[in-house]
């Protein structure tokens, strides 16, 4: 009797092309239906991404051009969200601020998660003393409050966008390493890994080709959740004058000393940048929560 290739039957009854198209649309629809909050978060993130990419088109003014004749203007047709103490247009600064916020947020999240992910992968796969030592070192890094660590780092590195990214990414490393390590520990015990070892696949190849792809679920969840906190830390650092330097418009710095000083005369100086930060972080938190429930039920509930 001829041996039929496994899966041929399925291929016949359910053509791959229609199956994929159906499942993609259906999956998205199911996500929106089952996780309306997550979908709202996704929408907020999409709006932020579009704003960041098309900032030059969307802005009505040059975000760093001062205008001595129109300082502290209230919101109007000319200045949609008013102007600040130097006459700079708040709306245009917020639009361009989205770009700075997103770039710093994404870069530091990716840098921290990738570095942490590699440490977690090696620590979980190699095990033994390597694992023990790296876990204790990560304990130490995680022990310091995130903001204090970022504060000291950015102060000691000096103000520049690159250094802010580094300062924010370091506290993310231990968090990422934890998540990846714990999923590596489960995957490592699976039979197909044992099989790969038995046929002589090298350790490096097992770790990166066979284990790593299976940790992508928790990794994506982690990145989404960390993006919000990275944006928040960037805003806080900039607010304290230790973050993104001039002339880049940053939401956090828009709220710093000058805003507080003129807050009574021009409350829009305080309100709008803060709303922008909150919505961005809110969006990524909502999306992160929903993705966690969908992609990685094991993590559900762990903050």
């Amino acid at each position: 009797m001829a041996v039929r290739p496994v899966g041929a039957e399925i291929e016949l009854t359910l053509p791959a092309a229609t199956r994929r198209r159906d499942s993609l649309g259906a999956a998205l629809w199911r996500f929106i239906r089952k996780k309306p909050l997550g979908a709202a978060g996704g929408l907020l993130m999409a709006v932020m991404l579009i704003t960041a990419v098309f900032a030059d088109v969307l802005a009505t003014h040059d975000p760093i051009a001062t205008d001595a004749a129109h300082t502290l203007a209230a919101p109007s047709g000319e200045h949609w969200l008013g102007s600040d103490h130097l006459g700079r247009d708040i709306y245009s600064r917020i639009v361009h601020g989205a770009r700075v916020s997103l770039i710093v947020g994404l870069a530091s999240t990716l840098l921290g998660s990738v570095l942490g992910g590699i440490i977690g992968l090696l620590s979980g796969y190699v095990g033994g003393k390597t694992d023990l030592v790296s876990q204790r070192v990560l304990d130490i890094l995680q022990g310091l409050p995130l903001l204090v660590l970022a504060l000291v780092m950015s102060a000691s590195l000096g103000p520049s966008i690159q250094n802010v990214v580094i300062a924010i990414s370091i506290p993310i490393i231990p968090r990422a390493a934890r998540v990846i390590r714990s999923s590596v520990l489960t995957i490592r015990e699976m039979q197909y890994i044992e099989a790969a070892g038995a046929v002589g696949v090298s350790h490096l190849r097992i770790a990166f080709r066979h284990i790593l792809p299976n940790t992508m679920g928790p990794f994506i969840v982690l990145c989404t959740a960390q993006l919000g906190s990275a944006i928040l830390v960037e805003a806080t650092l900039s607010f304290l004058g230790l973050g993104v330097p001039e002339p880049y418009p940053s939401w956090g710095r828009m709220l710093s000393v000058s805003a507080a000083e003129y807050a009574q005369k021009a409350p829009h100086l305080v309100l709008f940048p803060g709303i922008a930060i909150s919505l961005a972080v809110f969006g990524s938190n909502l999306l992160g929560d929903a993705l966690r429930d969908t992609l990685d039920p094991r993590l559900r509930g762990s903050s």
């Binding site: 890094l141 022990g143 000291v152 590195l157 919000g228 304290l240």
Partner: protein, 317 residues
């Protein structure tokens, strides 16, 4: 129990040692040394003067010697000298500590009082409109920068009540009522954020426990619903909550950094920011170490509470 405590203490001491190394290294990552930064604003640098300051700071010695003398200093309770004030750092920090502790404790009280009950309600009414509303409120707490919330609170007071919250520190012995008002607003701003985390953990932990068999048994016995939830379920669901409260207490300090700045409260956290901006490195180094000690201590207390709350932990390790 004794070996358990001894074990925890040993780990705490080791972690603290590790943290001191991390802090020491981080502060020396700076391009150029502290003296360069001190002189950067002055413009002209006298080479002899620079050498004298380096020697005074002990920075002409190798790193390991600097580290050893720093640790000896801390162990003997000497926190070094502030450059900005030319005073022993401890003299400046000492009056600031009670302010920060008071604010942190008050924020924690708000966080627990707001977080635990809303978490329970949200879990009991899972997937109802009330649950969604509470979750959105708590998630927005996690999304708003606490310094912005603080600014909006001040702005709100001014706009709606025509009343400006006291922005210079009032001692409790001077005017107790004003002192309390002064601390309640920033504590709310910080506590709201922490309450969101506590609420989320309470909710998910309670949901998990409520699926257990013994809870079903309690329902089946016809036990009163309130007793089942508050007495049977919450008792076992509270462990992760206690952990988060312990972690939060340490992380509150992060929130205090900005809130103390916005409300102009003379606490340790605000002073840390000022010391960083002034490049007063000996003070920064010691303050961060001080924060590390607080973090370790609160973790240790949580570990001990574990043993009290869950007898299995004691035998487990």
């Amino acid at each position: 129990m004794k070996t358990y405590i001894a074990q925890r203490l040993a780990i705490a001491v080791l972690t603290l040692f590790g943290m001191s190394v991390v802090i020491f290294v981080l502060l020396r990552l700076a391009p150029g040394d502290i003296v360069d930064i001190l002189f950067a604003s002055a413009g002209y640098v006298n080479a002899a003067e620079k050498q004298a300051i380096l020697k005074d700071l002990g920075m002409d010695r190798p790193y390991w010697a600097q580290y050893v003398s720093w640790i000896t200093q801390i162990l003997t309770g000497d926190l070094g000298k502030s450059y900005r004030y030319d005073l022993p750092a401890w003299q400046i920090i000492k009056p600031l500590v009670p302010v920060t502790i008071e604010l942190a404790l008050l924020s924690l009280v708000f966080a627990v009082v707001l977080g635990v009950p809303t978490g329970v309600i949200s879990a009991v009414r899972q997937d109802t409109t009330l649950d969604y509303v509470l979750r959105v409120i708590s998630l927005s707490g996690l999304s708003m920068p606490s310094f912005w919330l603080a600014m909006v609170i001040i702005l709100g007071c001014v706009t709606w009540f025509g009343w400006i919250p006291p922005l210079t520190y009032v001692s409790p012995f001077e005017n107790f009522k004003l002192h309390v008002i002064q601390f309640v607003l920033p504590a709310l701003a910080v506590g709201y954020r922490s309450s969101a985390l506590i609420m989320r953990i309470t909710r998910s932990s309670l949901l998990e426990v409520m699926r257990e068999d013994y809870i079903r048994t309690a329902w089946a016995k016809g036990q009163n619903g309130r007793v089942v939830i508050w007495r049977h379920a919450l008792k076992n669901a509270i462990l992760p909550v206690v952990t988060v409260i312990g972690i939060e207490f340490a992380f509150l300090i992060g929130g205090l950094v900005v809130t103390e700045t916005v409300f102009n409260l003379p606490g340790v956290a605000r002073f840390l920011v000022q010391a960083i901006l002034w490049r007063d490195y000996p003070v920064v180094q010691n303050l961060v170490m001080f924060i590390a000690i607080v973090v370790i201590l609160s973790n240790l207390i949580v570990d001990m509470l574990y043993g009290v709350l869950d007898p299995r932990v004691r035998y487990g390790s």
